[in-house]
């Protein structure tokens, strides 16, 4: 900036606030600049070095593919509306089914000591298995329609909730339980008034992971065997060397995952207002 014109008196407060915000959080301007810069380099790099479009498409082609996918009739088998809708349905159904079963089992197992001790080695062993490896078996069992993908997503979201809720219930501060016991509280009261809420940060960390896994599960399931869905579309675009199209589908998938994730974070902010943020994140592999 070579010269800064003195702002008029009326403009000063607004400008000043903007500048203060920018000084405190420069990333609000740096992040978008970085994105634009990368996209520009990509676009011009591809043109300059004449990269074949099936290897790396131009950004403009990807964006055009995105436009084409959505501009088409919502019921067309080649469009993003129908395929995206199918994938989203699989993700949501599987997520709800898998995470609820995982949570409920996690609660039951962690409350009954003998069950916990008996099952723990198998849970650990199963957790180490890459769940996507059994996708072909799932497709064989449940067929090419949507149900096999829902099962796949449910399977992938089940474990984060199971493992995290078990960890959460084990980590409950014993002092809190002792406090309720000293008041002659029942098991039921101890569970609802202390244990469940104490475990909630872990449960939300599990939901966070599950949301990401859910999209992974749906796409892998669709890769292995499906008639509709964004995964199917990626495969067919790949077969036609429509790399720009594949890229555009990936953008749709990223947005889908982002929306699911921010929905969960939104609920989390309201429910877990009392917990320090980013508590007890647990890493679990796919």
């Amino acid at each position: 900036m070579a010269e800064i014109a003195a702002p008029k008196a009326a403009e000063r407060p607004r400008n000043g606030r903007w500048r203060a915000r920018l000084a405190a959080r420069p990333e609000i301007i740096l992040s978008p600049i970085l994105l634009v810069l990368v996209l520009l380099i990509w676009e011009w790099g591809v043109r300059l070095f004449q990269v074949p479009s099936y290897m790396l498409p131009r950004v403009s082609n990807v964006l055009f593919g995105l436009y084409q996918g959505f501009a088409i009739s919502p019921f067309s088998r080649g469009g993003y509306w129908l395929n995206g809708g199918v994938t989203l349905l699989e993700v949501l159904l599987g997520f709800i089914i898998g995470s609820s079963i995982g949570l409920i089992l996690g609660i039951v197992i962690s409350q009954i000591r003998i069950l916990d001790a008996t099952l723990r080695p198998y849970i650990v062993a199963f957790q180490c298995l890459p769940k996507v490896a059994i996708a072909p078996i799932i497709i064989m069992w449940f067929g090419y329609d949507i149900s096999s993908k829902v099962v796949m997503v449910a399977l992938l979201t089940f474990f984060p909730l199971l493992v995290n809720s078990m960890a959460g219930f084990h980590g409950v501060d014993l002092d809190r339980i002792e406090l309720l016991r000293s008041l002659s509280a029942s098991r039921w009261q101890i569970f609802w008034k202390v244990k469940f809420l104490s475990a909630l940060p872990f449960i939300f960390a599990g939901l966070d992971i599950a949301a990401i896994f859910a999209v992974v599960g749906a796409i892998v399931g669709e890769f292995v065997g499906a008639q509709l869905g964004l995964g199917v579309q990626i495969l067919s675009m790949n077969a036609q060397m429509d790399t720009a199209g594949s890229f555009s589908v990936c953008i749709v998938l990223a947005v889908m995952g982002l929306l699911l994730n921010s929905a969960i974070r939104g609920v989390q902010r309201r429910v877990l207002f009392w917990a320090p943020s980013e508590t007890s994140q647990r890493a679990i592999n796919v």
Binding site: D173, R176, S182, L183, S184, A185, Q189, L197
Partner: protein, 272 residues
């Protein structure tokens, strides 16, 4: 019993009415390796209604174990505890507990934390609310009803936990090193507050501490305990007038008592 109707008490030398009677009490823990650890051996003591008893001793002398047996949280191995002629067999509704940390639930406001015992014991909500507000005034936390525990200082949190322990109007208040985590100056302030709360509420208080001055300052009787195995070495009556002020800690009488306890613990070779 209402919290403001309490007579000023002098030191309780007279033990004719024993409210809490501990007789032949022993506790043995078995470790996972099968070793037996004798935490308490043959404790006999009587505590009269409305008095303030302090239990002092080094760590590992079983004083917290004793308190947890009194609260009915763990069973005794031998002997018995009777409260008002009734054997303690489990958690009781006439006991309020204050722990070393305040254990306020972070998702509840201060008022809701104080009202927790009402939910457990089925006390009507509006009655519990007005009592909770009254108690918060008593512990000088008026205006903090709708704050969350995280917004309070350590001393304020512990005061809230005292209010919580008093909500269901228990006859007995058991306190397990309640001020151990506080800095020295806050601690002295809390001792003064506790003396006032006790005098206003008329409860029987048993307080565990490892601070000899705190035990003498607060107690009508000081139960001195020695470790390995945990025994009750002596019960010392404290005949200092109430209410006691902090400057009372500089008097020769106070000094004599603390010295006596220190000597008692040194004789048993427990202070290294």
């Amino acid at each position: 019993m209402s919290i403001d109707a309490a007579p000023l008490r002098q030191s309780q030398a007279n033990k004719s009415t024993s409210f809490i009677a501990i007789s032949g009490l022993s506790k043995t823990f078995t470790t996972l390796q099968g070793d037996r650890i004798e935490a308490l051996i043959d404790i006999n003591v009587a505590i009269s209604a409305g008095s303030f008893a302090t239990i002092v001793g080094p760590s590992g002398c079983g004083k917290s174990t004793l308190l947890r047996i009194l609260a009915g949280l763990i069973p005794a191995s031998a002997g018995s505890v009777e409260i008002a002629g009734q054997k303690v067999a489990g958690p009781r509704k006439d006991i309020g507990m204050v722990f070393q940390s305040s254990i306020l639930l972070p998702w509840r406001t201060v008022l809701d934390n104080v009202m927790l015992p009402a939910e457990i014991l089925g006390i009507p909500r509006d009655r519990a609310r007005s009592r909770a507000q009254e108690l918060l005034r008593m512990v000088h936390l008026e205006g903090f009803d709708n704050k969350y525990p995280q917004e309070l200082s350590g001393g304020m949190q512990q005061r809230a936990s005292i209010a919580r322990a008093l909500l269901h109007d228990p006859a007995i208040l058991l306190m397990d090193e309640p001020f151990g985590a506080l800095d020295a100056m806050t601690r002295e302030q809390m001792n003064l507050e506790l003396q006032r709360i006790w005098q206003e509420s008329g409860k029987t208080v048993i307080l565990v501490t490892h601070s000899i001055p705190e035990a003498v300052f607060l107690g009508d009787d000081v139960l001195v305990m020695t470790p390995r195995p945990g025994r009750l070495a002596q019960v010392l009556p404290v005949a200092l007038p109430r209410p006691r002020g902090l400057d009372g800690m500089a008097t020769p009488e106070f000094g004599a008592l603390t010295r006596e306890i220190r000597l008692l613990l040194q004789q048993k070779g427990t202070l290294d």
